[in-house]
């Protein structure tokens, strides 16, 4: 069991950190070159040179291109009109047709920006006539900005995701182990044997907490080492602070797990409830989608999500180097949460029914 507890989450860290990315890459790009001029070929060459686009084929007609998009073979079609080169030289402006598959609206927005940037850098005088499939409207960006990216200068997605995935694996393992634990003892009958001993309720819960707490801290350690070695994630902040916060955070998760365990009769029930909360906690944690863009009521719910605070703290401390006072609000909320959940765990554990 112990190897499983450590190996699976680490696989998760390696796989998810690479896969769970919002970077839009390998955009399947097709074009219809009606001009066939040096200018149009040079423009296509620009796309070819970009690492974001996989330039596929030259489609002879718009109908063929649109059927390829229906089949999902291409994401973007660039249509270069007849006399593109001539218009550009004579009238000092040209128009291009861009069609983007916008079923994934977020990705389509990013693709639009990329395309616009490439075309703009090629010639400031070209306008794109954007046509989007699906109903999501994306306004072309007209403002020239000079971005300055702080804390993650290279916009490396892994730098952003690894601390979050680390949070997930520490949380999942500790929640499931603790959630299954007392209920397992109910099933095999050893809990009854414990209940006829004079053991105190708090002693029992502490005895249950401690081993999982150690496992959780161990997972954090191995996860941090991997984050450093494999992903080269910067660790700007204090390791001690990360461990201190985690040591309290794990108590919250374990408290929830033991509370679930006390209220259920079988491991299936416990697993079901633990999964229910896990999915909500993960999706509402700000790990994959920003909490700021959730509706107001959902944002209120996230206030009760321990994972949210942990993701925030890990990103703050690891990437920004936030100190004790910066994470104090999260720390206080988490501590209160830990006290409440473990209080409930002790309270809900009944030696006498």
């Amino acid at each position: 069991m112990l190897p499983i507890i450590f190996v699976l989450p680490l696989l998760q860290l390696v796989i998810l950190s690479n896969a769970a990315t919002f970077e839009v890459k390998n955009i399947k790009f097709a074009y219809i070159d009606n001009d066939k001029s040096p200018t149009s070929r040079a423009l296509i060459e620009k796309f070819n040179a970009s690492t974001y686009f996989d330039v596929l084929t030259d489609f002879p007609s718009e109908a063929i291109a649109s059927s390829a998009m229906l089949k999902g073979e291409i994401d973007v079609v660039l249509e270069i009109p007849r006399h593109f080169e001539r218009n550009l030289q004579k009238e000092k402006h040209g128009t291009l047709g861009v069609t983007i598959n916008a079923i994934d609206g977020a990705a389509a927005g990013v693709e639009n920006v990329y395309i616009t940037q490439i075309i703009q850098s090629y010639n400031k005088n070209i306008r794109t006539a954007l046509a989007q499939i699906s109903d999501v409207q994306i306004q072309p960006i007209n403002i020239e900005t000079i971005p300055l990216f702080w804390y993650n200068e290279t916009l490396n997605y892994k730098t952003f995701m690894v601390p979050g995935i680390l949070v997930l694996l520490v949380t999942m393992i500790t929640l499931f182990l603790s959630g299954m634990n007392i209920v397992r003892e109910k099933e095999i009958g050893t809990l009854e044997q414990i209940n006829v001993t004079p053991i105190k309720k708090s002693q029992f819960i502490i005895g249950k907490l401690f081993p999982f707490w150690v496992i959780g801290m161990g997972l954090l350690t191995v996860g941090l080492i991997l984050a450093r070695l494999i992903f080269n994630v910067p660790m700007v902040g204090s390791l001690a602070l990360m461990y201190f916060y985690t040591s309290i955070y794990i108590l919250v998760v374990l408290g929830i797990g033991l509370f679930i365990s006390n209220f259920t009769d079988t491991q299936q029930q416990a697993m079901f409830i633990a999964w229910f909360f896990m999915v909500i906690f993960i999706l509402m944690s700000g790990l994959f989608t920003p909490i700021e863009s959730m509706p107001k009521w959902a944002q209120i719910i996230t206030e009760f999500n321990p994972i949210k605070y942990y993701v925030e703290v890990m990103r703050m401390v690891m990437l920004k180097g936030s100190g004790f006072t910066d994470i104090l609000p999260q720390l206080i909320k988490t501590s209160v949460y830990a006290i409440v959940m473990n209080g409930l765990a002790v309270w809900s554990y009944r030696k006498t029914t």
Binding site: I188, G189, E192, I194, P198, T352, T353
Partner: protein, 240 residues
């Protein structure tokens, strides 16, 4: 006070169903008290109330001088319990189980070490002391489980069908262990389905549908019901 268990009108209801219906009896110190009854007669429910893990619906009971309703934790310091279902940790070794339960009862390290050595020797488990309990045969497990329930020298030990599914030789050894414990002054409260075992008890009660229908020494019960053996007594009562 010579009665270590005193029960008066003890009742347990589950919804409309009365599992234990106003039972009254007492058990003297050092006695081997047989607690008989058919399956579903309410024996286990009654025991659970006496050992403080199930609250009675009504009635009164004191065990080792403490009230089951108000002081169950004090009772637990003074009793040992062996459940129907084997309830030591299968994934701990023999030694670890002994150490663990010794620790829970607050025995000192030195005491635990002495006890576990003596216990392992007595049970003849020297060769398997470091093996996981889950790998032992049932008979050995039951003997181990009984010894562990005595680890803190309790005043009373509750045995719920300790010999269920065990071979006749092991059953015999088991009863020798019970006698030994009783001779050392431990009160033994035992349930069983084997009527030959009932004959070994000092006194026997027979529960039918949640009520105690008979309670006396095996000899007197046989006279009272004009029966040859405890088996006949049981059949007469249980059939109603």
């Amino acid at each position: 006070m010579n009665n270590v268990i005193q029960v008066e009108g003890l009742t347990k209801m589950f919804g409309d169903f009365t599992a234990v219906n106003a039972i009254t009896f007492e058990v003297e110190k050092g006695e081997i008290f047989g607690f008989l009854g058919a399956n579903g007669a309410g024996k286990t429910t009654a025991i659970k109330m006496l050992i403080g893990i199930s609250n009675p619906t009504s009635g009164k009971a004191t065990v080792a001088g403490f009230d089951v309703l108000t002081n169950p934790e004090d009772i637990k310091k003074n009793i040992g319990y062996m459940s129907q279902k084997f309830a030591l940790y299968d994934d701990l070794t023999v030694k670890e189980n002994i150490t663990f339960f010794g620790g829970i009862y607050g025995l000192s390290r030195k005491k635990i070490k002495e006890k576990s050595e003596a216990l392992i020797k007595e049970l003849g488990l020297e060769n398997v002391a470091s093996q996981l309990v889950g790998s032992l045969p049932l008979g050995w497990k039951q003997k181990l489980s009984f010894s562990v329930s005595l680890i803190h020298d309790p005043k009373i030990v509750f045995l719920d069908e300790p010999t269920g599914g065990v071979d006749p030789i092991t059953r015999r050894q088991f009863w020798e262990m019970i006698y030994k414990a009783a001779n050392q002054g431990t009160t033994v409260f035992v349930t069983t389905h084997y009527m030959d075992e009932a004959e070994y008890c000092d006194r026997v009660s027979i529960m039918v549908n949640g009520k105690i229908e008979a309670l006396d020494t095996p000899k007197k019960l046989k006279e009272q019901f004009q029966a040859e053996s405890m088996n006949d007594v049981f059949l007469k009562l249980a059939r109603g």
